[in-house]
């Protein structure tokens, strides 16, 4: 073993990224998004990107930053309701948008990282999501055939990672990150804590290092909360 996958920072991690590429970005809402990599992407300036992510950020954070700079040509997501600029670009036709069911999105990413080119799911049968897709009955129920999703670059955020690329996520910041990590030709992980091999229990690894190609410790995490809901102490 001993494969040191460290790169110096987010900018260095994006080496090889080109206009027109397909990217995946982990996160659910603003929870578990690769903040450093998104900021570096905005600096990088690559254009005509296809972005696959469950959401599109908010106007001034997350993938919203790349919408502002008009680097995104097409967005594949399941829910984009938090972003006014997104809605404007979509309704005006500036932005291509492919909205797909959340479970289908998750499974398509996993399929891309599992060598499964297609699978059947019940989600979306009979709706416009199934238009143009093969449908089939199994055991009396109707299903839609969905294809895998893969990315030139997958950008994920983990809580902890070691230099071999093994990743551990924290709470619901896990979400799409492990699935997108599997589906990248080049997968970059930014982590809050970069540790030495051996500091993560093998049984606690969520993403085995084989799926990760570059890793670095992120900085200045904002971790913005979208809906701060609290209760009063009794």
């Amino acid at each position: 073993m001993n494969m040191d996958k460290r790169v110096t920072d987010a900018d260095a991690a994006l080496k090889g990224l080109k206009d027109g590429m397909t990217l995946m970005a982990g996160g659910f809402g603003l929870c578990g998004i690769p903040e450093n990599l998104i900021a570096a992407l905005a600096r990088n300036g690559a254009k005509n990107l296809t972005c696959i992510s469950n959401n599109a950020g908010v106007d001034d954070f997350g993938l919203g930053l790349l919408l502002k700079t008009k680097q995104i040509k097409k967005m594949i997501a399941s829910y984009v309701g938090e972003n006014a600029e997104f809605e404007r670009q979509m309704l005006s036709g500036e932005l291509e948008v492919d909205l797909i069911p959340q479970g289908t999105l998750a499974e398509r990413c996993r399929a891309g990282g599992s060598g499964i080119p297609a699978f059947f799911t019940p989600a979306g049968y009979g709706t416009e999501v199934a238009e143009g897709k093969e449908t089939r009955e199994f055991d009396g129920k109707m299903y839609v055939m969905e294809r895998w999703l893969r990315a030139d670059f997958s950008l994920v955020k983990a809580w902890k990672g070691d230099t071999e690329g093994n990743l551990v996520f924290k709470n619901t910041a896990r979400n799409f990150n492990p699935l997108m990590a599997m589906a990248g030709t080049i997968t970059i992980a930014e982590v809050e804590h970069l540790v030495k091999p051996g500091e993560i229990e093998p049984d606690h690894v969520h993403t085995p290092g084989i799926f990760v190609h570059r890793i670095f410790q992120g900085k200045n995490y904002e971790k913005r909360i979208e809906q701060r809901t609290v209760r009063k102490r009794a």
């Binding site: 578990g32 399941s78 479970g103 998750a106 809906q227 701060r228």
Partner: protein
């Protein structure tokens, strides 16, 4: 009198059975958690990857890494489990979740539901709703009986793009509770003080009224 949102949630909560795993959608469904009857233990599943969702955190204890599918800060409970989005929808599609409660814009009398898009106007996306309605064996839709213009949301045929076909089994509105049957919406309970005639007048889809329809107990 028509039910308010909390009364709708309270009526739905009476459908919970001990040991249920439940997925509550955004809006009125979320309120159901506040009305779980004593003696009934249910486990809440949040499709962003959490089983055993606890209440909102105390002020100052919010964790940006711990939210529910509505992006609200929540807490863990003893026995909670975290998982990725693929595993989350695996358990949904494999029908391990016993009850799904979600909102809708329209429902048709054959059980179709529309909830995610108003073409050219409101395009937020379906989130996990299409997976949930296509998979759940037990779905309750809750919504207002009519829209802001006073038009029925219980229709012969949905006018908006569908979220799922023939999947809704039960509907609770501010006016009553309905089962979807081959003959149409069967009225099973009236909101207290709401007449069958009022419900008939506000229901565009086929409505089935058999015998005396009892008033809802809250």
């Amino acid at each position: 009198m028509a039910l308010d949102k909390n009364q709708i949630a309270k009526r739905i909560a009476r459908e919970l059975q001990d040991g249920y795993y439940v997925n509550l959608g955004i809006g009125i469904p979320t309120l159901v958690a506040n009305h779980i009857p004593p003696g009934i233990n249910v486990t809440l599943q949040s499709e962003n990857g959490l089983l055993g969702m606890g209440p909102f955190p105390f002020e100052g204890e919010e964790d940006a890494d711990l939210i529910n599918a509505g992006k609200q800060t929540v807490t863990l409970l003893p026995g909670s489990a975290i998982f990725d989005s693929a595993t989350s929808f695996a358990m949904i599609r494999a029908q391990k979740v016993n009850l799904t409660v979600l909102g809708a814009m329209e429902v048709s009398d054959n059980g179709d539901i529309a909830s995610w898009k108003i073409p050219g106007k409101m395009v937020k996306g379906m989130g996990g709703a299409m997976d949930l309605v296509a998979s759940a064996e037990n779905i309750i839709v809750c919504m207002m009986h009519t829209n802001k213009a006073g038009e029925s949301k219980l229709l012969k045929k949905c006018s908006l793009p569908l979220t799922g076909v023939g999947c809704v089994k039960r509907i609770i509105t501010d006016l009553g509770m309905f089962e979807v049957t081959p003959a149409g919406f069967k009225l099973t309970e009236r909101a207290p003080g709401v007449s069958v005639e009022e419900i008939q007048g506000k229901t565009e889809g086929r409505l089935v009224v058999e015998g005396e329809v009892k008033e809802m107990e809250l």
